[in-house]
Every structure is written in C-alpha cells, then in structure tokens.
C-alpha cells in the first residue's frame, strides 16, 4: 500500500483526537522516526498538543509550549517546514533551551510540517528521531501529505460540538479535504469572515458545523451562503 493510502487508512472513520493519534502512529511506522505529535498554535494563547504517537511524543511536543520555543512554533511563525537533522550539531543553535532538553531525551532529529486550515498556518506535525540525519525524499513527501491530512482532525477539534464526538464510520479525510479545498468553500469562508467578524479558520469551522447539522455537503452550504440563501448567526 502506498504511503498516502496508509496515512488515509489511519484517519478514516475517526474524528478529532483519535484521528490525530492514529495519524501520528502511522507517521512513526512509515517515516523511520521514533515519535510524532500534532500541535495547534492558535492566536498565541490557545495552543497545545492535540494528538501524539504516545506519552514520550506528547512530552517532547508539550515541552515547546512550556519553554516558548520549538519546531511547531517556528514552523507556524515562518510558514515553512522546519528540518533539523541533528540537534547535537554545534552549529545548530536555534533552540538554546528546547534543543538541549530534547538531547537529554536522546532525540537528535526534529522535523515540523506546518498544518493549514482555511489558508491559516495554525499548527504543525512534529516528528522526532533518535538518530541524526535528514528525512529522505520519500519520507519528507509523506510527511507533507500527513500534515495536509492533519487539517481534518484539527478542524474537528476546533469545533466545540465535535470535540468529544465519537468516531464516525462514514468520515473520509480525502473526500473532506477535497470538498473543503473547493473555491466556493473558500469564498463562502471569506463572506463569513465579513459577516461574523471571525478568523478564517473559525469561519470554516462554522460552515462545516452547519453542513453537519443539516446533513448537507460543505460545498452545497458554501453555494447557499454565496447566493445569500442562508445566513449563519453570529455567536
């Protein structure tokens, strides 16, 4: 099974934190790394680890929010992948506190891929490895796919009603990403930003929540918003 099929299989049928955990497990299995975590950095304050491959991964990941520096924070700030082949490299001084802390846990390689929701860089998929060295091309490409897929559980977790939702056997991350990447959905998201005075990610969460509530596709709801056939209420 190709890498991206295995990543999809990990999240399909699951929602929120469980989907995020399983995606992290799949990353560890597929990319020659030792730990993976998905974390959110939203408007500075609302941040933290949403999913992980296990307790060590969660600890490596949460540490950056305690220390105020680390791969997820940097990847979101710079809007780019952050790739550190070896934290023990004397020239590698980007995290003066976080770097030595991870080295004390025997982590040498750290890689973060930004996660986007509604065009906003809102979090990252963080990968940790005990052995130094770069991700190879195939694993890097796979990690980019995993970060793309991570947008779906992240949307679940941003939606208060879906936060503790049970797994949904019908959920399909690929179909969902495809639907949410349509131009109409982005346009309707922009209209909601203007109507509700919220950020784009929040606007998309609202659009998607409405689609769930009425049992229609996000694309159909987007078209109705654009044609002013429906109007979502402000909170």
């Amino acid at each position: 099974m190709a890498i991206h099929d295995q990543l999809l299989a990990a999240v399909d049928g699951r929602r929120g934190a469980e989907a995020a955990d399983r995606l992290c497990d799949a990353c560890v299995m597929l990319f020659d790394i030792d730990a993976a975590a998905i974390s959110l950095v939203f408007d500075g304050s609302n941040s933290g680890t949403l999913g992980s491959s296990g307790q060590p991964a969660r600890m490596y990941d949460e540490l950056q929010f305690t220390l105020g520096e680390g791969p997820c924070l940097e990847s979101v700030a710079l809007r780019t992948p952050v790739l550190v082949a070896d934290l023990a490299d004397p020239d590698e001084g980007r995290w003066p506190i976080y770097g030595p802390a991870l080295l004390s846990y025997q982590i040498r390689g750290v890689f973060a891929m930004p996660v986007l929701v509604a065009g906003e860089y809102i979090g990252a998929l963080d990968l940790f490895r005990a052995q130094p060295g770069n991700l190879n091309g195939e694993h890097f490409a796979g990690a980019v796919v995993a970060a793309e897929l991570a947008g779906v559980p992240m949307l679940d977790l941003l939606d208060a009603d879906l936060q503790s939702a049970v797994n949904d056997p019908g959920s399909n991350a690929w179909t969902e990403l495809h639907s949410l990447s349509r131009a109409e959905v982005s346009q309707a998201t922009g209209m909601l930003v203007a109507q509700l005075g919220v950020e784009p990610a929040e606007a998309l969460v609202r659009l998607r929540a409405h689609a769930y509530a009425v049992g229609r596709s996000s694309t159909d709801v987007a078209r109705d918003i654009l044609e002013r056939r429906i109007k979502l209420e402000a909170d």
Binding site: P81, G119, Q187, M191, L192, V193, E199
Partner: protein
C-alpha cells in the same frame, strides 16, 4: 534544406534552457550553453555574461569562447566599455560601429578591433530592481541590434538571471512546500473574493477583477492584499476604504 523560422529556434532555446532549470544544473555550464544559443540566434560571433561582484566590478561568468584574446576583451570591461555603461544605466547599449567610439573607450576599442570585431552590444540582467550584470554580444560586421534581436537578447538575459538566482536546484524539500504555499495563496484570494462580495455587494468575479487591479495599481501582490484583508483586523478598515474608493473610481 529549409530554414527553421527564428521564432521556433528562439522558443526551442528558451524551452531547453528553462528545462535545465527544473532539474539539477551547473550554473556555469548552463550559462555557457546560453551564450552559445545567443550567438547562434542573434548572428553575433561571440557572446559573454558579465556579472557584478560585491565590489561592483564586472566579471566574466560564461562565454562562447575560451580564447585568451576574447576573454581579455571581456575582462577589459571591468573598467570601460559597453557593459560598464549598460550596468551603470540599466539600459541596453548597442554600438553599431566600434571604430567610431575610440575616444569614448580608449583601451576597449583597439582591443575589440584587434580581435576582429566591428560591433558590440550589451543587454542588462536584473533582479529585485538591482542590475546584476550584462549579456555582452560581439559582431564581426557593423550594424545595430534590431528590436527583434534586442527582445531575444533580453529574453535570454532574463533566463540567465533566473538561472543565477536559482542555482540551488529544486529538491523535494523545496518543491512541495512551495506548491503548498502557492495553493494557500489561492485559498486566500478566494476568501478575499467572498469577503469583498459581502462588504461591497459585488459578484465574486467582479471582486477578483477589483482585487487584481487594485493590487496592480498599488504595486502590491494580489495574495498579500488578500491576506491582509482576510487576516489583519488592524489594517482591514483602511484597506477596505482604499479598495472601495478605488472601485468607485473605476469606469463601470
């Protein structure tokens, strides 16, 4: 044998050079090929690329010929000659008859005539508003560059500029994040269309035209305007006012 039209030969050269930019390439090797293509397309005997160094001296990067006499001719232009003028003005320089310029360039002209050249031209290479160097062309008979020749020369000079600035060949580590970033730009533009539809009560099509012409009129990037409109609450009111004013000034 039927002659291939020049248009086809120019496109063939551009496609082949740009093809090389998309895979692993060596900058000197590629630019040597570019000077060879240039000489063939423009009916000049010799072509060279001179690049400015950090001390603002023009230095030879690649040329059609490695002959000592010709290399010397390129090197002489660190001090005087058409490339120096082209570099300092940022404009093309075309000298139809070298002989007539002996007073202007007392060292360059005798050396060029000695080497058997009668005409010389220089086309600027630029990036980010900076002149990076010049594409230098030598002909064995007198004559100016036609407008069409100048366009071909300028096209190849642009390709050379891109090659120099992209010396690090694309890799999976750079290509995929760039693709994602480009697609994110499109998402922001779509959101901005919806946003303007709501605020200005225009169609999404008109919103796009408005955004694009506003960005161009202000020398800004379309995606930057979209990003500010969508994500920057502080500058949003001012930006909306500016776009509304721009819209009402447009002929409808």
């Amino acid at each position: 044998m039927t002659e291939t039209p020049r248009e086809t030969r120019v496109l063939d050269a551009v496609v082949s050079l740009v093809d090389s930019l998309l895979v692993d390439f060596d900058v000197v090797d590629l630019l040597t090929e570019l000077t060879e293509r240039c000489a063939a397309l423009l009916d000049v005997e010799s072509a060279g690329l001179l690049l400015v160094d950090p001390l603002e001296q023009l230095r030879l990067l690649a040329a059609t010929s490695e002959e000592t006499r010709e290399l010397e001719l390129f090197q002489l232009q660190a001090d005087e000659g058409p490339c120096v003028d082209c570099y300092s003005t940022g404009q093309p320089v075309s000298v139809a008859d070298i002989q007539a310029e002996a007073d202007r360039w007392p060292r360059f002209v005798p050396a060029a005539l000695d080497a058997g050249f009668a005409s010389v031209h220089a086309v600027p290479m630029r990036a980010a508003g900076i002149v990076m160097g010049a594409l230098n062309l030598f002909g064995t008979h007198p004559g100016a560059l036609s407008d069409a020749d100048l366009l071909v020369g300028q096209t190849l000079a642009h390709v050379a500029s891109v090659a120099i600035l992209q010396e690090h060949a694309p890799t999976p580590w750079t290509v995929m994040p760039q693709l994602r970033s480009a697609l994110t730009g499109r998402i922001l533009v779509e959101q901005a269309k919806g946003f303007l539809r709501e605020i200005l009560d225009v169609s999404v099509e008109d919103a796009f035209t408005l955004l694009r012409s506003y960005a161009r009129a202000n020398g800004e990037h379309l995606t930057d305007i979209a990003r500010r409109l969508i994500t920057d609450r502080h500058s949003r009111p001012v930006l909306i006012a500016a776009i509304s004013e721009f819209a009402s000034a447009q002929p409808s």
